[in-house]
């Protein structure tokens, strides 16, 4: 296994695609970090400008997510090519015919590829870690649970990308076809998100596990067991498909039959995983939770809550309702069924229905309607409906906020000059012997 891992690592290091990824990731992360720190400084009142409320200044939203956002871009548009090469190059050169006869199983070979890719990605995290060190050096605040959660999200994101790319490389005849298939998958998930926005039902459930949507959960400071298990299972499904398609001894009917078998195995796993309810709010400002007193009161409601929403998918109130209330309720209550009853647009040329804007809450046969998407008002409605005594309102916010009015000193030379130079030098040293011979 160690020799397999060594082979894959050497192949990665011999790949110009990997060095290009390393070269580009520094400036990408740097741009995100520098822009974010600058904006954060301005929001914190640097240079005598008006400062935002301190409670609104969270390093997770302000700096960490934008800085690491470059990795989402890289894992979508750059990393798949690195992963595809690791499979396609062996297929194209004939090495795969030798490996298929080697005294190691397909799982070991794919595991070695996966581990090498993961190692490569961790190396690509260096600029991100440099950004964190700089942020700390500026006096910035890091709340470790939300940072580690964000890193877990990016790790799962890259695992999914590996699964898709390796499966595409295994199924396609060449690297170019595999790249097109991988990008097609990505564009497809974007389209799914667009189509499913605010619709509810199966489409919305599917859309909530697209790579971007899954990462968003972690970026919001939430650790959702369903998102973790679904993403990990999807990644595993990609590798399972690769294991079906890589052995050349199988004919097309056999490969299709095994692919169907893999589909039948993974579908119930994914379905079950999507229904896992365990989720933890790891954000420092508890943005995914109600106040502790409200959560304690809501936990007294043990019956299923049905919510019927008469809001169009494009209506910003629906997004507010989703983010500020329904998501939080789903974490606390034993069961929340949401029905989006209005699929019509409230556009210029369309008349809205009579019930448009209403949100109905049904609990134990009783119904109540509210047009509000404001947390205290909706909670009042729910307490009244459930016959639960509302908790006393706590005065003041619990989250202090972490303003920081500093400019990103030294970041530009580090990310735009030193990093590319260091990578270029390392690539030159590593590749020069090979090119000479």
């Amino acid at each position: 296994m160690l020799w397999l891992l060594a082979k894959e690592s050497r192949e990665l290091l011999a790949s110009r695609a990997f060095w290009l990824l390393l070269l580009m990731i520094g400036p990408l992360v740097g741009h995100g970090f520098i822009t974010a720190v600058d904006s954060y400084a301005e929001a914190s009142g640097i240079g005598g400008g008006p400062a935002a409320l301190a409670q609104g200044l969270s390093p997770l939203d302000g700096v960490l997510v934008p800085a690491f956002g470059a990795y989402d871009l890289a894992v979508t548009l750059l990393f798949p090519f690195v992963a595809i090469r690791l499979v396609s190059a062996e297929k194209a050169s004939g090495a795969w015919k030798l490996m298929l006869q080697a005294p190691v199983g397909m799982p070991a070979m794919l595991l070695a590829k996966g581990l090498a890719l993961l190692g490569a990605w961790l190396l690509a995290w260096t600029p991100g870690l440099l950004a964190l060190i700089l942020w700390k050096a500026y006096g910035g605040w890091i709340y470790w649970p939300e940072l580690l959660n964000l890193l877990l999200g990016h790790l799962l994101r890259v695992l999914l990308s590996c699964g898709v790319a390796v499966a595409a490389a295994a199924m396609a005849n060449g690297a170019a076809s595999a790249a097109i298939a991988t990008l097609g998958f990505t564009v497809g998930t974007w389209a799914l998100e667009f189509v499913a926005a605010g619709r509810g039902g199966l489409l919305a459930t599917l859309a909530s596990y697209t790579p971007t949507a899954a990462l968003r959960v972690f970026e919001q400071g939430q650790l959702s067991l369903a998102t973790v298990v679904v993403t990990a299972a999807l990644s595993l499904a990609g590798f399972a498909l690769a294991a079906v398609w890589l052995p050349t001894r199988r004919g097309l009917p056999s490969r299709l039959a095994w692919s169907l078998a893999a589909f039948l195995v993974f579908t119930p796993i994914l379905w079950g995983a999507a229904h896992l309810r365990a989720a933890w709010d790891l954000s420092e400002n508890r943005r995914n939770s109600f106040p502790a007193a409200d959560e304690a009161a809501l936990r007294q409601i043990r019956r299923p809550l049905r919510v019927i929403v008469f809001l169009a998918p494009e209506d910003p109130r629906l997004m507010d309702l989703d983010r500020n209330l329904l998501g939080k309720l789903a974490r606390i209550l034993p069961r929340v069924d949401i029905e989006n009853a209005s699929h019509s647009r409230a556009g210029l040329f369309e008349k809205a229905g009579d019930h448009y804007g209403e949100v109905w809450y049904q609990l134990d046969g009783r119904r109540a309607m509210s047009r509000s998407t404001t947390e205290p008002i909706v909670l009042e409605t729910l307490y009244r409906l459930a016959g639960v005594e509302p908790p006393p309102r706590a005065a003041g916010g619990e989250y202090p906020g972490h303003p920081l009015a500093v400019r990103p000193k030294g970041a530009a030379p580090l990310f735009y000059a030193l990093w590319p130079l260091a990578v270029a030098l390392a690539a030159w040293v590593h590749l020069k012997d090979r090119n000479r011979s």
């Binding site: 020799w3 060594a6 082979k7 050497r10 192949e11 011999a14 790949s15 062996e90 050169s93 004939g94 090495a95 015919k97 030798l98 298929l100 006869q101 080697a102 005294p103 190691v104 052995p247 050349t248 001894r249 199988r250 004919g251 056999s254 012997d433 090979r434 011979s437």
Partner: protein, 233 residues
């Protein structure tokens, strides 16, 4: 009998590449698979190695049917015209194969010496000439421990002197307990190195045996492999 393949057929679309091909390989022999380009030699090797699915036929090793997925336990097939791990050095690639098949560094060094690879050990596989790459590939094949080694065109790309040296090296392999099955399209090379021959033409096996046996079967009193091949196909 080390290996017996019976009734191997393979189509690519409408093109019948192998039709009911049967071959046998004995212990400690050099068996040649002889046929012109396009006769189905590579396809037969890939079918025997279990690398591609066959339409029909079965393969037995020492009298027992062996499924395609398990054939790598008994035989190793070295394809022609491949450049595996083009960015890696010859030395590393040999060490990698030695590690896969539990071969000692001494065995690696001896093979590198025998195949005159020592000056090329630091070179990338992708930078080698055709003949150099062929010798590096042969080294990989010879590092495997399987009782049966299938070599596709082992002399292709080698010059006259190298061909003779590789032939001498390959002739020592059966003595070490292995069987070689060589696909060769150059009839003169085949006649010099092989103990027995399988003649393949248009996907069909036209004959199998020693040169003398094939000559008898062709009804010839004299003549070389070329005359025998022409008479039988």
């Amino acid at each position: 009998m080390l290996l017996a393949a019976r009734g191997i057929s393979k189509h690519f679309g409408r093109n019948a590449v192998l039709q009911d091909a049967s071959v046998t390989a004995r212990d400690h022999e050099v068996l040649g698979l002889i046929g012109p380009n396009g006769s189905g030699k590579t396809t037969l090797f890939e079918c025997l190695a279990g690398l591609i699915p066959t339409d029909s036929g079965e393969v037995e090793v020492r009298g027992r049917a062996v499924a395609p997925a398990r054939r790598k336990q008994f035989l190793f097939y070295l394809p022609d015209g491949i450049r595996p791990w083009a960015d890696q050095s010859v030395a590393w690639t040999m060490r990698f194969f030695a590690a896969l098949y539990a071969r000692s560094p001494d065995e690696v060094a001896a093979l590198a010496r025998a195949l005159q690879l020592e000056p090329l050990l630091r070179a990338r596989i992708g930078s080698l000439s055709k003949g150099e790459a062929k010798r590096a590939l042969l080294a990989l094949g010879l590092l495997t421990p399987h009782p049966l080694l299938l070599l596709d065109e082992p002399f292709d790309g080698l010059d006259f002197r190298q061909t003779r040296e590789v032939m001498t090296l390959l002739r020592t392999v059966p003595a070490a307990g292995r069987t070689l099955f060589l696909s060769i399209h150059q009839l003169t090379d085949a006649a010099r190195v092989c103990d027995r021959l399988v003649l393949l033409s248009k996907g069909r096996v036209a004959g199998e045996g020693t040169l003398a046996e094939l000559r008898t079967r062709a009804g010839l009193n004299e003549g070389g492999l070329e005359e025998v091949f022409l008479a039988l196909t």
